[in-house]
Symmetry: C2
Subunit: 436 residues, 2 copies
Amino acid sequence: MAYIFEVPQPSNELLEKAHRIRLASQKISQAENKIRIQALNLMADYLDKKSNEILEANHEDYLRAERKSISKALLSRLKLSKEKLNAGIEGVRKVGNLPDPVHQIQIKKELSNGLILERKTVPIGVLGVIFESRPDALMQISSLAIRSGNGVMLKGGSEAGFTNTAIFSALQEGLEEAGIDKNVICLLTNRKDSMAMLNLEKYLNLIIPRGSNELVKFIQENTKIPVLGHADGICHLFIDNDVNIEMALLVALDSKIQYPAACNAIETLLVHKDIAESFLKRAIPLFNSNNVKLIGDKKSVELGVEFEASVEDWQTEYLDLVLSIKIVEDIDEAISHIQKFSSKHTDGIITENITTANKFMHEVDSAGVFHNCSTRFADGFRYGFGAEVGISTQTLPPRGPVGLEGLVTYKYFLKGEGNIVDDFSSGRAVFTHKDL
Amino acid sequence: MAYIFEVPQPSNELLEKAHRIRLASQKISQAENKIRIQALNLMADYLDKKSNEILEANHEDYLRAERKSISKALLSRLKLSKEKLNAGIEGVRKVGNLPDPVHQIQIKKELSNGLILERKTVPIGVLGVIFESRPDALMQISSLAIRSGNGVMLKGGSEAGFTNTAIFSALQEGLEEAGIDKNVICLLTNRKDSMAMLNLEKYLNLIIPRGSNELVKFIQENTKIPVLGHADGICHLFIDNDVNIEMALLVALDSKIQYPAACNAIETLLVHKDIAESFLKRAIPLFNSNNVKLIGDKKSVELGVEFEASVEDWQTEYLDLVLSIKIVEDIDEAISHIQKFSSKHTDGIITENITTANKFMHEVDSAGVFHNCSTRFADGFRYGFGAEVGISTQTLPPRGPVGLEGLVTYKYFLKGEGNIVDDFSSGRAVFTHKDL
């Protein structure tokens, strides 16, 4: 799917929707923690109550998709079983157990007598989320938005149209019963609107794309709204010469095959020349027996790797059982290869040498730098965040796997008793800057 | 000055410079705190040693500028007295007293047995700073960059060319004596390079413009590099009806006249209709006697404001002794006016009513929301940050006045003992997620 069209201007109807979300988001931004938690529980209750309707709607989507003969992978993501739905509903309730991300005091200090500064977390405002066919995403994203006091404009895959509409209406009923303006969530149902969303910079504060690399790249290049996400995930693992070969084999295999379609799976293995022969002698049959196609540089082909790599290979995210291998002179060559080709997601080293590990971890400029463990750990849930809003590969925060904290920002609240700056410049008052 | 030309592609020479900064920044990013502090002291020592040369260079710049008959304001900013230089040198040393922003542990936890996650602050990498004629900015920015372990590419105003070159060479000598690669700072001397900088997204991680609104806007619209800064500063002060009029007058006057060219000075005063008559009766002569030109809506003109406002006035940053005044029905009208016209910098309320104050502070979506104090307090030094890198009016962090913390990001460091994800999905291992 290529995105070669222009981003359309928002229709009046879309602007009206955006305006309503904005108003509703201002209200929910002030809702107490317990109100937001109650809303999540009522959303879950209504999903429970309406579960038959939701499953029937999903069945209809499934039949329609089958007739269009879409791919098996897509069909399986679209299919919502009773178990998957229940797990999704349970997930909505669980979001209520996470620590409240809003109204947290980050800084509190007296600037001067009677002049108190607080920096507190506040919701971002309105999120725009574009996700793919997986209909459980709708429940998950809406619950994260409500938990963090934000409004959210959602656009799901058209294949899941009936399912999304059924889920969405249950969520809105739950919100209403909780006394929250139901317009705080909004489901867009046509593709033109979902693209016009990119021009809503006056209404949306953050866009979270959950889709293909191509979609993410298109969005990043066509909106002025900040985007939380990443296009490529080209991760590396460097096998140092001072290494426990058993560990290196285990971690390399896990980093590639545990879930090859994930962004945190490795695409390239860099091997120190001094260990290359003994490592590859064991690694090649191991990868072969796990159906991994190996593509290597000249030297590794000489040591038994079947296919020779082109320059393209070092910059390709295979997302599949394919691995490129390069033999390097030393850690410096490994690091400079990574600096050149890494997408700054996650890069790891296997070594017994702490000095080498530290050098690698400090010089590699990626969101995650790993030592003696699988790159597959780069994930919000595995990091213990309780949720994952997205993974960011930009340098500035938020970086790496982003939990609920990615859905809040902060504001400075300054309270005085008539304090003026002229008193300070003329010496009648002084700053105390005392932490409270 | 209008920016109507295309952003030029970087020359090979500029790319070479960018490459050298990038390498040097990788080295300084690992420098210990004491090394960075020592570098600051040596930079200050060399500025001291070379102060005569610097002052002479400044004299030459000044004479040249005078011949070009540039504005008095610009001339006064360009002029570097012995006192101003000494204060600047002292400032360089003082940056060493700020808490180290780098290598701070933000998160440390055990994910599972033997698998330890740390999130630590790290320098951003390479900064690009474009600043105006004020030559002391060069000392300040370089010292903030070195303190936070970053490289920096600098472009100063051409009027200060001799001064900047003299200061820069002293700074580099100090760095060299501290054993730091002097290429970690780089001074561009022609305008073409400073614009081509905007296309260095592969080398620069953050651009900090210090100049006119027009320059900032141009930069924001013409680079893929994140920009820390703000174009407009349209700040409001709302005078509620439940108010101490003496306090309201004092704070309103300070917010306007204490330094009208600052971004945190107010441009618009919103006045509750129930207090308008009694407030304006005192405010109009007070502002008049301080040479503030008042421009108001119809109602306030009826109450004695001299000039009538056009729509343009509500969106103009006067940066001068001019103030627009609007009489509003109630706090809701005040808030909706602010939501429409504020540049999200700083907006304040004067009221004796805590409920009204809280409503205002929660609903107004600006970086700073102030109660009963002057908007002029919105400043990194007054907030006690010890430095101000810039003020950001974007919604996402960093927001508001940004101290040294704006020059660092973070990275996730994960250290294991051969841990793999497959052990967790198969139940052979469990996550502990214990804070350490």
